[in-house]
């Protein structure tokens, strides 16, 4: 697959946070320290690049918490590859075991 320009640090830290188990907008902001105005557009962009997929939370789970269902994000296989490549360059991100990454494999 033809790759676009290398990911910026912000995007990498977002992928990193998601791989680490932070799947919702505000959680990602807490994990990365980035502002909401940066995180949400970046999520859209990463999704359009195919590095993330998003789904709406199961309605029943949300009901139980008495709130609307949230949109949550998963790393795709392409995203995992991109993240692994980027982590080679950004060495100051906390190393996390790739085995522990949450990667969602699209059924197709």
């Amino acid at each position: 697959m033809a790759k676009t320009a290398p990911l910026a640090f912000g995007a990498v830290s977002i992928l990193h946070a998601i791989a680490d188990g932070n799947r919702f907008g505000f959680d990602i902001m807490d994990a990365t320290g980035l502002t909401s105005g940066t995180v949400y557009p970046a999520l859209e962009k990463l999704e359009s690049l195919g590095y993330l997929t998003s789904r709406w939370e199961n309605v029943r789970d949300a009901r139980r918490d008495k709130r609307p269902p949230r949109r949550y994000f998963d790393l795709t296989a392409a995203g995992a590859t991109a993240l692994a490549g980027a982590l080679q360059r950004y060495k100051n991100l906390k190393p996390i075991s790739r085995a522990g990454w949450r990667v969602r494999h699209e059924p197709a």
Binding site: F24, S36, G37, E44, W56, R67
Partner: protein, 890 residues
């Protein structure tokens, strides 16, 4: 939902709701859902895990991001969706109307192609100022100045002083001079090569490190005659030695002196002569071994210089710093050193071709720009016409809720598609015409290289022009189309709508602009065609038209002055014997060549210069029978004979201008002129002529005796009775008998030589004529299109007129009048524009003023005739309509 939904939370959610309008419609629902859910979740989480006092206030900062998110979506997601939609729609339109698309793309392609190819020529020439050097922006040319001149070269002692005492603003400087030499490799035939003799720091300072071998070492640049080494160019290495890597260490013979090749310059580096591809470089220190020593004469200004500024230093600052040294040198050596220096950016440096080349490049780009403007006006007109027929579609879209800005975007997308197609066509045209650049290489005996390439720079330029074009021709029709009134458009029939006076006005204005622009081009072309005709008929001051000019150089064959003089005497004697030769002579320069001119300071007995006046005389060294050979009239006295040898008194022939200016009221014959410490007696007065170029004014000129002022290089000039071509083999035979080591090069007829003298004028004239014709065609097509459309709109009116008794002639003149009105308006504007613009290239004109009446009137007439023809066709068609039919349609 949460039972404890306080005012703070409600405020947060209200902010998100307010952002609803900001988000693009297709994503609004998801956007609000996501943000509401995230806020509520965070709120609950904070309720369960309180962090501190300000935790909820911090939510506001986060919610501010919701608005940014919405805005981002608006910019990115929506635009992309629309863009693909618009592109698909635009593509379908282009395919559905192939005729329209073809004409538009063709016109844009011609306009863009003209610009791309002109730019690639200019780019090729700029690249050939200096190729493959480091940080060329820090390099500037240095010239010596005196009170009245600012283009002087440097002497070697001056250079050493400047370099040793160079100020902090100057990194380093180099000097160099071009020297054609004869090269032999292992007993091969002598081959003429173009070399530069350069200071030892040359390659290092330019940043051109040889990838193979090495550059000159410090001692090679400082000890005279000790190190016969040479660096060869990559191009020459490939061409002459087939890229053989064992070249380093090989011996080559230059002018009968053995040199060792020590390195190959980097690919793309071609030396410091503008537009030339040099073959090799040797240290200046070898100069005394190759010719009479010039290294130690401060008065001998023969070296060109380039300065590398320290990073961040401005030219003016370095000029001031170096000026102090120049002043100091001028005080120390009042007779020899100049009084100052001047720095030039390389592109306008006299040593790099200077202002004339820049002017020609300016004309090229300007002319191509005008053609593109005309093409844009034309396509804009086409689009306006098609917008008229699409008015219903526009109106329907507006009624269905499309915003006007959306419609503008869509139409701009369509015009961008056309522009991109035009850009591709333009690149194809530029590629096809790439080799035409060769026609514009001056026919000089030099390795000139103007190599237009469609490289990344040019492609970037093409993309930029294409984009600019899309906006230029797309904006007006787009705004016009979107501004149409919904009601009228839906109500009325298509033809009636077209007649909205505003749209017609815009279209007429575009045609007027085209006519005006093409008139500017045509007038310029007219001026240059007249210039060319004048230049060809200018009297060059000599009458011989059948003959040959042949370059010879004895220096490489190892002749000294005594043997050289004997050779030339013998040569002339033999050549004059050859059947068909009427006369023969030698001269250092062929008059009206591309090789520049020499001048020298002089004092004239009996003439007292005004204060601040420097008597500086241009001169040529000529042999016996020079005036007879070239057919220059002798006004008084005699011309040189074989008897004017170094042993006899020094003699000089002056031209009429010199005689009038410096011997006013006296008989110049017998007058005395002092040059370089020698006293010359005037023995003859020759008629004035043109010496360097055909445009020059009469100037004082003198002929020195070639025997008395020996030089090893010369041009043999032969006057023949008939076809000079037949003489060439006989000349070659004569030379082989004289000395087989002396090659003849650059053999050309005098007629060919005269052609080269009008080269610049011919080049500009053909360029302008070609572009002028293109502009005329484009403008005619535009005029025809608009007149035809306007006539079609007036069909009902014409039908009515005919029904009421108007004759066909009346109708024709009705339509013609409309076209003529536009044409005349355009001509008025164009004349004013041309009047203002043609002054710019006044310096390139010969024998015509920039406001030449014939050129202005002639091209105006041409334009009127062509415009009338373009209007006549639609007018005739309009006059043939059937009034019944026309009225029934109404």
């Amino acid at each position: 939902m949460s039972p404890r939904r306080g005012p703070l939370l409600r405020l947060l959610l209200a902010i998100v709701d307010a952002g609803w309008w900001l988000a693009p419609p297709s994503r609004r629902r998801d956007w609000r859902r996501q943000w509401r859910a995230d806020i509520l979740h965070e709120w609950q989480w904070l309720t369960r895990h309180p962090r501190g006092v300000g935790d909820r206030a911090g939510l506001f900062v986060r919610v501010a991001g919701a608005l940014r998110h919405a805005f981002w979506l608006r910019l990115h997601v929506r635009r992309l969706e629309m863009l693909t939609q618009d592109i698909r729609y635009g593509w379908r339109l282009m395919v559905r109307k192939p005729g329209f698309t073809f004409v538009a793309v063709l016109m844009l392609g011609l306009g863009i192609g003209a610009n791309v190819s002109m730019y690639s020529w200019v780019d090729g020439r700029m690249r050939h100022l200096l190729g493959n050097v480091e940080q060329a922006d820090r390099l500037v040319a240095l010239n010596g100045t005196t009170r009245t001149r600012d283009e002087l070269s440097l002497s070697y002692p001056d250079y050493e002083d400047y370099r040793q005492r160079r100020p902090a603003s100057v990194d380093d400087l180099i000097v160099y001079t071009m020297a054609p030499m004869n090269m032999r490799v292992d007993n091969s035939d002598p081959q003429r090569v173009f070399t530069e003799m350069v200071s030892g720091n040359y390659f290092e300072m330019l940043g051109a490190r040889p990838p193979l071998g090495r550059a000159f070492l410090p001692e090679e640049g400082s000890v005279p005659n000790r190190h016969p080494v040479a660096v060869i160019s990559h191009n020459f290495w490939m061409r002459r030695f087939a890229g053989d890597p064992s070249i380093v260490g090989r011996t080559i013979t230059l002018n009968s002196l053995a040199f060792t090749v020590i390195g190959v310059a980097p690919d793309g580096f071609h030396g410091t002569q503008p537009y030339l591809n040099l073959d090799l470089w040797v240290p200046l220190m070898m100069q005394p071994a190759l010719a009479a020593d010039r290294l130690h004469l401060r008065s001998n200004r023969w070296l060109q210089a380039i300065v590398r500024l320290k990073p961040g230093v401005r030219l003016a600052r370095a000029e001031a710093d170096l000026g102090l040294i120049a002043k100091d040198l001028g005080n120390t050596y009042p007779d020899d050193a100049g009084s100052g220096i001047k720095l030039f950016e390389l592109w306008r440096a006299p040593s790099m071709g200077g202002a004339a080349v820049t002017a020609v490049m300016g004309v090229q780009l300007g002319v191509a720009g005008i053609v593109l403007l005309i093409a844009c006006a034309n396509v804009a007109n086409l689009l306006l016409a098609s917008a008229a027929t699409r008015q219903r579609e526009t109106a329907v879209r507006l009624t269905l809720g499309a915003s006007r800005s959306r419609l503008v975007q869509q139409m701009l997308t369509e015009s961008s598609l056309l522009a991109i197609a035009g850009g591709i066509a333009g690149i194809v045209f530029a590629y096809w015409t790439k080799d035409l650049a060769r026609l514009f290489v001056p026919p000089a005996p030099l390795p000139i290289e103007i190599n237009p390439e469609l490289n990344a720079d040019v492609m970037l330029f093409a993309a930029g022009v294409t984009l600019a074009t899309a906006v230029l021709f797309g904006l007006v029709p787009a705004l016009q189309g979107a501004a149409s009134s919904v009601m009228t458009a839906l109500k009325d029939s298509a033809t009636a709508v077209t007649a909205t006076p505003r749209r017609a006005r815009v279209r007429k204005a575009l045609v007027v602009a085209q006519v005006a622009l093409s008139l500017v081009l045509l007038v310029s072309a007219g001026l240059f065609l007249r210039t060319l005709m004048n230049a060809q008929s200018v009297d060059p001051g000599f009458s011989t038209r059948t003959g040959l000019a042949v370059a010879i150089d004895l220096q490489p064959a190892g002749y000294d002055a005594v043997r050289g003089r004997a050779f030339f005497r013998e040569m002339l004697a033999r050549v004059r014997e050859v059947p068909g030769v009427e006369a023969a002579t030698v001269a250092t320069r062929m008059t009206l060549g591309f090789s520049g001119s020499s001048d020298t300071g002089a004092t004239i007995d009996g003439y007292t210069p005004a204060p601040n006046e420097e008597v500086s005389l241009y001169y040529n060294r000529v042999g016996s029978e020079y005036l007879k050979t070239l057919g220059i009239a002798l006004v008084a006295g005699r011309e040189f004979t074989e008897l004017d040898t170094p042993e006899r008194p020094d003699v000089v022939i002056v031209n009429e201008t010199l005689a009038h200016r410096y011997f006013a009221g006296r008989d110049p014959i017998g007058g005395r002129i002092r040059v370089s410490g020698r006293q010359l007696e005037v023995v003859g007065v020759a008629r004035d002529g043109k010496y360097s170029n055909i445009t020059e004014r009469p100037r004082p000129y003198m002929y020195l005796s070639a025997q008395q002022w020996y030089r090893g290089d010369a041009v043999l000039i032969v006057k023949t009775a008939g076809d000079p071509g037949a003489l060439v083999p006989r000349l070659h035979a004569a030379f082989r008998a004289l000395d087989p080591n002396v090659p003849l090069f650059d053999v050309r007829t005098i007629a060919d030589h005269l052609e080269t003298a009008v080269f610049v004028q011919r080049m500009v004239a053909s360029l302008l004529a070609a572009f002028g014709a293109l502009a005329l065609i484009l403008a005619t097509v535009g005029l025809y299109g608009v007149i035809a459309a306007l006539a079609a709109q007036r069909t009902p009116e014409i039908g009515m007129r005919m029904a009421l008794g108007a004759s066909r002639g009346d109708i024709v003149s009705l339509i013609l009048k409309q076209g003529l009105g536009m044409t005349l308006t355009g001509i008025a504007i164009g004349l004013a524009g041309a009047f203002a613009l043609t002054r710019v290239f006044k310096s390139l004109l010969v024998g015509v003023s920039a406001t030449d009446g014939v050129s202005f009137a002639g091209t105006t007439l041409l334009l009127v005739v062509v415009a009338l023809a373009a209007c006549y066709l639609p007018a005739r068609r309009a006059s043939r309509i059937d009034p019944l039919q026309a009225l029934r349609n109404e």
